[in-house]
Symmetry: C2
Subunit: 122 residues, 2 copies
């Protein structure tokens, strides 16, 4: 697998307008997949726990409804970011965790947090 350009190369290419060649906005598909009011918060919660249950997510996301949480989880699963494991015990429960595809989002969240930190007083 070929290496992706470094950030310095990226900046250089942007400066010269070369990045456009990479395609029609390669950022878009991911950003579309992350749209929806709760998805990024859910992913953030998953950053914090190796594995997390439906009920815990609901408790940690104040205001979310069953419907919204279920929909968001289903879509995140369909997009391959998270993994769902069902335990048919008594009482039954479900555990959600990152796939590798999902875990690879961490650098993005890191940069977003970094931005937030730098501009928190703007």
């Amino acid at each position: 697998m070929q290496e992706f350009m470094s950030y310095e190369e990226f900046l250089e290419n942007v400066k010269e307008g070369i990045v456009t060649e990479l395609g029609n906005c390669p950022t878009t598909p991911l950003l579309i997949m992350l749209q929806g009011k709760w998805k990024t918060q859910i992913l953030y919660e998953l950053c914090m726990h190796d594995s997390v249950r439906f009920g815990v997510l609901k408790k940690n996301l104040p205001g979310i409804t069953n419907t919204m949480l279920t929909n968001a989880l289903r879509e995140l699963e369909a997009d391959g970011f998270i993994h769902r494991e069902q335990f048919n015990e008594i009482p039954p429960h479900v555990e959600y965790s990152f796939t590798q595809r999902g875990r690879d989002l961490l650098p993005i969240f890191y940069e977003i947090m970094k931005w937030g930190f730098k501009h928190e007083n703007d």
Copy 2:
């Protein structure tokens, strides 16, 4: 100004569940500001040009309407990401460009592109 933790520290903190302490999902405010069907595409276009005109944006974003483009630009301006400069010549035109706040989004876009590159064949 205090330095933000390194990515290695970030991963370590995530692993230990410490990142939560930083606040209630510091990623959220930014992600909310970037919501809307066209905003990230517009910002991407701005990455490519130091300054870009309304008409050029409209041409490069196939399918966008005047209304949507105007709304998105107004909101991006209100959130401090872009700068609007009006030239009252004949014919009149308007140039949009990044503020520093907007330019600081570049590392995020870089990581998003990197993710897209890694997972383009998933």
